[in-house]
Symmetry: C2
Subunit: 192 residues, 2 copies
DNA sequence: TTGACATGTGAACGATCGTCCACTATACTG
DNA sequence: CAGTATAGTGGACGATCGTTCACATGTCAA
């Protein structure tokens, strides 16, 4: 029973998600339901041609971009058509999308409501990058009196203010030098 | 010059991020700066003992959990200490954290402001899962008149209403059967 | 200095890897 | 039906894999 490349790809994805690596040709015998490595070789060759999987410089198999990515369909309220072919859908991994400098990136869970008007709620996770230069309008996490706080960074005439996104709080004007722990580069909220 | 396990681990992470796979023992010769595979074998053994890298059932090396994860440090406004040892920090990958059913998950970019009071702004990415049963209070994307719209799902006395999180819009009461395209399981906002 | 221990070297080993080839089975065409 | 691609079988092959061995070197304390 001949199967389509997409079905083979699905098997590979399943394996990859379970094992966190690509299967060997021998293992693909079972996955694809064939009995000779030559058959596997051809299938792999075809998938490689279609860029569904890749090979590195040493010839080893690597997962294609669609292996971990999430499908991005389009815009809400745009009345878009749902693409039928999985290949036509753009895919991204969230980690790739959000994180640029892996080593200096870390996360914090938000516990206050001082940034509520900026759409950052208690319980949200904020992605921070250490060492970035804060620009006007950025949201930063700063250390004040051995406490960390999250505010808008505002610089006017050389004076820095930390402004909350909540009318019930006041802006903070740092007396001594300002210790910025990180610049907020993303916000993540999980519902369930 | 003897190096610490953490330095070896850093080399492995670098390699893994570039190649998307674990290096072979031969390749580690160069990475670790040693000349015999036996030396590599011991280093790998130690890293495995410390659970910094793993082996699958076939004995192949797999990346440890910290290879792709982002460090989670704690809560804002809690005045937490910054952990010095990288090993002590919990790490998560966003994809793992947010996505449960990979196949039925997709993303949309939000273009309206009808959910602004729920902290969902235009330009945000929403993560949707197809086929989940909507519960009261969930945010859903539904198809109305061939248009997709995002609203709170509200069910009272068997009647379903779609309620926006913006006072300037009205609730929608679906006339015919309601077509729910997906339930919002997460929101992601990228600043820069 | 001597002994004990940790760590690295270099080589040998069987196992598994992916490629390749000759051959067979199946499907399609005229 | 014969003729011709297309796809799979089964095995041989060299390359590379990770393991393991005996041995050399380095380090530290007695």
């Amino acid at each position: 029973m001949p199967r389509s490349p997409i079905e083979y790809l699905a098997e590979l994805k399943l394996f990859y998600r379970e094992e966190a690596r690509m299967p060997s040709f021998s293992e693909m015998l079972g996955l694809f339901g064939v009995k000779s490595k030559n058959a596997v070789s051809r299938i792999v060759h075809e998938l490689t041609q279609n860029k569904l999987i890749r090979r590195d410089t040493k010839g080893r198999l690597l997962p294609g971009h669609s292996f971990l990515g999430i499908k991005v369909l389009g815009f809400i309220e745009a009345g878009f058509p749902a693409p039928a072919e999985e290949q036509l859908v753009d895919t991204i991994t969230l980690d790739e999308y959000l994180v640029q400098n892996h080593r200096d990136t870390f996360m914090l869970k938000v516990s206050g409501d001082s940034m509520i008007d900026a759409g950052i709620q208690p319980g949200d996770l904020v992605l921070l990058e250490r060492g970035r230069a804060a620009r006007n309008g950025d949201i930063v996490v700063a250390e004040i009196d051995h406490q960390w706080t999250m505010k808008y960074y505002e610089k006017r005439n050389g004076k820095v203010r930390l402004v909350p996104a909540n009318k019930r709080y006041k802006a903070i004007i740092p007396k001594e030098r300002l210790l910025i722990s990180g610049v907020v580069i993303a916000v993540v909220r999980k519902y369930r």
